[in-house]
Amino acid sequence: MRRFFLIAPPYAWLLLLFLAPFAIVVKISLSDYALAIPPYVPKFSWDEGIGAYLSQLDFENYIFLTEDDLYWKAYLSSFKIAAISTTLTLLVGYPIAYGMTRVPSEWRPTLMMLVILPFWTSFLIRVYAWMGILSSEGYLNQLLLWIGVIDTPLTILNTNSAVYIGIVYTYLPFMILPIYSALERLDESLIEAAEDLGCSRLTAFWLVTIPLSKTGIIAGCFLVFIPALGEFVIPSLLGGSNTLMIGKVLWEEFFSNRDWPVASAVAVILLLLLVIPIVLFQRNQQKQQEAEQ
């Protein structure tokens, strides 16, 4: 009985504010657009009964998503941008995580705090910081012109490149931390054993360190890839008009076009696409937990 009172409040809260809203999204995605408030039909009424209500629902919005190439291009482009930025984040993050495990141990907590500190700082501010750097009269162009590498300013802000930089920058801690914790647990004597058995430093790194930090790498990649796929703030502030990302499309569909049924359908599809990496991520985590036991 006591347990019931412990379970009931969070359970009810989540049912009401997480599951129910999502059911509404699914429902509206099956409705038709209307110039009304709220801007969709049918609205459920008890007079007509559930049968009549259900008969009015259809998959029109989903068919529309496949017909208008804006949407599937947006999904594809989100996927591409997320994948490229995840790879870049890994390339930037791994050497940092590796370096952190190589410094004397009394330094590590400080470095750890330096990695976590940006995570506590406002996301918006961190994205904003790059607007000033990347704009055509920004600090980067000023620097490059001053050195003489370029004659005319580069256009970086409002392109996909700026989005990559933004994602790498803001999600870097998510990549560093799991890799660092995997590398930190790595027994130094394994490397020494590999070298003793004839490996060079580099082959020992390649044959022992990398495979043993695999779970950290996979976890880090998913932690970057999953949120990057649905990212809104970065493409909207750093990306250009031709940067297609599904989070931005959804936002515009909702706030600018006020087409709630289509926005809902976009959301449902995005979520279905996310299920795959999330399930893979879960499996990786589980495997890691089992290995630890």
């Binding site: 809260w13 809203p21 509404i24 918006l124 870097l172 999953i226 796929l229 809104f232 979520l271």
Partner: protein
């Protein structure tokens, strides 16, 4: 033996430069005299002064703090309960659904969470404003709190609770007198995390707010869309300063406690 190679030093230097130079530039140019952010025209603190007189920003900051305090408190209570249920609750009907609902918001894109909550609030006819943002933030923050608290509970020595029962506690007394005081640090960091998440959120707040309540991130975002401005730099600098001081203080306190505890343990062994 020095394990740190040149490669490590270079990668760490470049890595941390990458993480911190953008912030440092932003802070430096908040003290720029000129309206043009990218051209240095001398030191000045006038943008801080202007910020202090910008009523819209101050109002938004107040709304944000209100939302963050309420939502993180709700999230901490519910999240701690959820964590306890997940770790100690054993089997019950609907456990799989429950754990799914706890973890899903962590990976759910904010646009979807925001959209779905907005549709709910419209559906049930709830006026959008501070209350709806608090509800929305409470929902996704409680999942973060529950992750933080349950990772502490997992390593919690179960025999402490059993000892309390053995010494005559009812199970609620055992929770109040033994479990809660011991997991308190995790509960507090859960609250801080929920607070920062709420302070930081743009997307969900944009969906769930009404005309009556504009939070600071919404205000900042609309200003940022117009481009870089020294006033935003000044505001960002203040926020970075607060967070930095907070995080460094917290970690110094934690470190000091750890050092003291270790010293006391060593003394105990010697005595």
């Amino acid at each position: 033996m020095n394990k740190t190679s040149w490669f490590n030093v270079v990668s760490l230097t470049l890595g941390f430069a990458f993480l911190y130079i953008p912030m440092i530039i932003l802070i430096i140019f908040s003290f720029n005299e000129s309206k043009l952010v990218t051209v240095w025209a001398g030191f000045s603190t006038k943008w801080y002064g202007e910020l202090m007189h910008n009523k819209a920003f101050l109002d938004a900051a107040w709304v944000t703090i209100k939302v963050a305090v309420f939502s993180s408190t709700i999230a901490t209570v519910l999240g701690t309960m959820a964590a306890y249920v997940m770790v100690r609750g054993g089997r019950f009907r609907g456990r799989t659904l429950f754990s799914g609902m706890i973890y899903a918001p962590l990976v759910m894109p904010e646009v979807i969470t925001g959209l779905s909550l907005l549709l709910l609030f419209i559906g049930i006819g709830l006026d959008r404003g501070v209350l709806t943002i608090v509800l929305a933030h409470g929902t996704f923050s409680m999942c973060y709190v529950s992750v933080v608290v349950s990772s502490r509970l997992v390593t919690f020595d179960r025999s402490l609770e059993e000892a309390a029962l053995d010494l005559g506690c009812s199970s609620s007394e055992a929770f109040r007198l033994v479990t809660l005081p011991i997991i308190a640090p995790a509960v507090i960091s859960g609250w801080l995390l929920a607070f920062t998440l709420s302070l930081d959120d743009l997307v969900i707040a944009s969906f769930t707010t009404g005309p009556s309540a504009t939070t600071l991130p919404i205000k900042i975002y609309s200003a940022m869309r117009l481009g870089v401005s020294p006033e935003i730099n000044a505001l960002s600098t203040i926020m970075i300063a607060i967070i930095t001081v907070g995080v460094i203080t917290a970690s110094l306190v934690a470190k000091q406690q750890m050092v003291r505890q270790r010293r006391e343990e060593q003394d105990a062994v010697r005595s």
